[in-house]
């Protein structure tokens, strides 16, 4: 941990603090015991709250790295399928509503800002703004899901949900059609399989994130996260921002293929 990011823990006695200064991630020194009053959130196997929070956030980063590969499998499927059927993907992408997707991107980026400000409020021990920003983040997350559901409904009305109901009958197909109509329709349907799987998995992450923030909002009431112990808020923030980053890539890959022509 770099020296400038050291979060000083006033509840902790100075001697104890010296023992761990600058080596937060290293094993604790043997002389570090339990003398003096310390923060109620400090678990006994950590030297300082700062070391504890560093470990907690590192654990979250490890989880997020595995999440990246969870989504990564789908991004790989996307890459292969788009490489194989570029015309069908460009055609299919043109059936998404661009302005709704753009609006949703802005909503999600805004929720990342409010989440970052919630973490900041927790660090600066301002309970009112912490709870305010958590509420804002939850509301923006719900708005995102609402817009997403609206888009799903529009796809449903146009028979673009993959499966037995899928049909391109009412749509004008590109003129020199690569392969036959049947083949082309199957490839467009493949795009929509990928579209619904990826955005669906993303939406599931949003729902979980909203749930986590809801729990933290309730737990934060008594000031639990505004006395120097901000790790739970920070960790939830890391998760929220990660889900935002997944969308940052989904948006151009799913919505922005069509305009400039194929591939």
């Amino acid at each position: 941990m770099s020296a400038e990011s050291v979060h000083h823990d006033a509840h902790h006695d100075a001697a104890h603090h010296d023992a761990v200064e600058g080596q937060a991630a290293a094993p604790r020194s043997p002389q570090a015991g339990h003398s003096g009053a310390h923060h109620p959130a400090l678990a006994h196997h950590f030297d300082s709250l700062e070391q504890q929070q560093e470990a907690q956030s590192l654990g979250m980063w490890i989880f997020l790295a595995s999440e990246l590969l969870f989504f990564g499998g789908l991004f790989t499927v996307y890459t292969v399928a788009r490489w194989a059927y570029p015309e069908a993907f460009a055609f299919a992408s043109g059936h998404l509503v661009l302005w709704l997707g753009t609006l949703n991107t802005v909503v999600l980026l805004t929720s990342s800002l409010t989440m970052a400000l919630a973490v900041r409020a927790s660090q600066t021990c301002e309970l009112r703004s912490l709870r305010g920003y958590l509420v804002l983040t939850i509301v923006l997350g719900v708005v995102f899901l609402g817009i997403k559901m609206t888009e799903y409904y529009l796809d449903y009305r146009e028979h673009l949900i993959p499966g037995p109901m899928f049909s391109l009958a009412g749509h004008e197909l590109p003129d020199p059609l690569p392969g036959g109509t049947r083949e082309f329709t199957r490839h467009v349907e493949l795009y929509f399989w990928i579209y619904f799987t990826m955005t669906g998995l993303h939406a599931l992450h949003m729902i979980i994130g909203i749930g986590v923030l809801g729990v933290l909002l309730i737990l934060a009431r008594g000031g639990r996260y505004t006395t120097g112990y901000f790790a739970p808020i920070e960790i939830a923030g890391l998760y929220w921002h990660f889900v935002d980053i997944v969308w940052i890539f989904l948006f151009p890959l799913l919505y922005l293929i069509h305009h400039g022509g194929a591939a």
């Binding site: 991630a25 980063w61 590969l69």
Partner: protein, 99 residues
């Protein structure tokens, strides 16, 4: 107790940058860029992701250990996609020599 909390202004600037890049990627998708569309879109998305990682997720002042974890995630993702595509992209080469 306040440690070094990032100033609100920094967060707002990053947010402004993210909005700007979102506008840019939509504009670029409408522009006649020929075959460069995907490359431009991915470059802009990567820039946005970097802003979120460095500032919103505080990677800019995180420990080197955190960097190792974050970069290892990217490394394995790269292995996944590059190895897969190195298969698909080279299949045609064999078909040609097979006659």
């Amino acid at each position: 107790m306040i440690a070094h909390a990032t100033p609100v202004k920094t967060y707002c600037l990053i947010f402004g940058g993210l909005l700007l890049l979102t506008g840019l990627t939509v504009a670029a998708s409408l522009a006649p860029l020929g075959g460069l569309h995907t490359l431009v879109a991915l470059a802009i998305a990567s820039a946005k992701a970097a802003l979120v990682l460095l500032y919103f997720m505080h990677l800019a002042d995180s420990s080197r250990l955190t960097w190792v974890v974050a970069l290892s995630g990217l490394l394995w993702l790269a292995i996944l996609i590059i190895l897969t595509m190195s298969d698909y992209l080279t299949r045609e080469w064999w078909r040609v020599t097979d006659g």
